[in-house]
């Protein structure tokens, strides 16, 4: 269904890239891109052609901070039914994960989406239900849509939504690594469209391509970046036009704008990133777990959280290292015994690298 499979074309692209004899470093910010890259060995092929592609902070579960996980743990310990996506439950907090709490008998439930959490609230009117709302612009409109439908009073969200464009700006401003081009996340872009990325090409002279998730989409994205570099005409090119419109999904943007306002927020591995988070507008205070249960989590507000000992997720998320450069990778840290979030999430680069190890 809508797959762009064409092996011959893929090989042609690779051999044409090879002929260019280049040495470039690109970044993408999407777990699904990383999965395609590693699963099909494209990371390996491209490296051979002089192109390195690192993941950056493109994993919502991974960039969620220890503090946010601890907030959920506190709420669960205070008798709330805590709900979130599967991966989030297994991320280690400072001492425990939500999964550990679940085995201790606390009520932690995995949901597929926010509507499942609302249903739990409807079915448990005498309990408070908290949904940990994690995800980038792809997921935020689903949260907003559910909030606009007036969920029951015993439902609220711990909002952890983050947005991509200003995180990219921060990575570039931090100046820790050279970025010759950016591959932008296809599904974030279905919502936001092209415009929110444009300042990056304009102000930093960096080419960008919004790419889909088939191997050929990524190869084409790489090819488009190379051509932009050769022509020295950086802009935001849309390779994924079957799903991304120039203006994005306006209906989804309107729903988001009704419910959320932009805020500054810390990302794991980063300092506070201006304008990269979403909070519920005041009109929706009754659905904001942080306001509703302020007393339950007040002790966490000034606490200094530590990252798991030895874990290099922070550097990974800033694109500075690859998973195998972490000494704990496959030695002490495995998907079923993860030390950091990048080994837990199916979008985390350590998890993806481990999953396809045998392919290499």
């Amino acid at each position: 269904m809508f797959s762009l499979n064409d092996n011959k074309l893929a090989h042609e692209i690779v051999s044409n890239i090879k002929k260019k004899k280049i040495n470039l470093k690109f970044m993408h910010v999407c777990g699904t891109h990383q999965d395609t890259l590693v699963k099909h060995g494209l990371d390996f092929f491209l490296k051979d052609c002089g192109i390195e592609i690192g993941q950056g902070p493109g994993c919502p579960v991974c960039v969620t901070t220890p503090k946010e996980i601890e907030e959920m743990i506190f709420l669960a310990k205070n008798g709330k039914i805590v709900t979130t996506f599967g991966d989030m439950i297994r991320v280690p907090g400072e001492k425990k994960s939500l999964q550990n709490l679940k085995t201790e008998g606390y009520d932690i439930r995995t949901v597929y989406g926010i509507e499942d959490a609302v249903l739990i609230a409807k079915n448990n009117p005498d309990k408070e239900i908290v949904f940990m709302a994690v995800g980038f612009e792809t997921t935020a409109p689903t949260t907003a849509s559910a909030i606009l439908k007036n969920p029951p009073e015993n439902f609220s969200i711990l909002c952890c939504h983050r947005t991509i464009p200003f995180a990219l700006k921060t990575i570039i401003d931090m100046g820790e690594l050279k970025i010759d081009g950016l591959i932008e996340p296809g599904h974030v872009s279905t919502i936001i469209g092209i415009e929110p990325y444009e300042f990056i090409s304009r102000e930093y002279n960096i080419p960008q391509v919004i790419a889909g998730f088939e191997p050929i989409d990524i190869l084409m994205g790489v090819w488009m970046l190379i051509i932009q570099i050769e022509q020295n005409s950086p802009f935001v090119q849309n390779e994924y036009s079957r799903a991304v419109k120039r203006e994005g999904n306006i209906k989804a943007q309107k729903v988001m704008n009704k419910v959320f306002e932009v805020c500054d927020v810390k990302w794991r591995g980063f300092p506070i990133i201006p304008k990269s988070g979403l909070v519920l507008k005041n009109d929706f205070d009754q659905y904001d777990s942080r306001k509703k249960f302020e007393d339950d989590i007040i002790d966490l507000q000034n606490y200094k959280f530590k990252e798991p000992k030895g874990c290099r997720c922070g550097e990974l998320l800033r694109g500075l290292i690859s998973p195998r450069e972490c000494p704990l990778f496959g030695v002490k840290c495995f998907p079923d015994n993860p030390i950091g979030p990048c080994m837990v999430s199916i979008e985390g680069s350590c998890n993806i690298e481990f999953k396809y190890l045998k392919n290499k």
Binding site: M1, F2, I13, P141, T142, T190, S241, R242
Partner: protein
């Protein structure tokens, strides 16, 4: 988590913004369509139980044509 799967709308229930999608592998699921304007037969991307965008078949074909064209230009050089 930004994973979104394409599916075909096979039934629409307007009153609660829901529709049934067929994923083409035998699975069907109820999804929320409040974020898109769709009709039966449209293909959508589904994420966390919501359709987040309609897929455009014509654009998919155009992309492939464009790839082939770019490469044949190259070989012509």
């Amino acid at each position: 988590m930004c994973l979104a799967i394409p599916g075909k709308i096979i039934k629409i229930d307007d009153k609660d913004d829901s529709a049934t999608v067929d994923y083409g592998d035998g699975t069907k699921r109820m999804i929320n369509i409040s974020l898109v304007d769709v009709k039966i037969g449209d293909y959508v991307l589904v994420h966390a139980g919501f359709a987040i965008e309609k897929l455009d078949e014509v654009e998919a074909q155009k992309t492939l044509d464009l790839f082939r064209e770019m490469l044949s230009d190259l070989e012509g050089k």
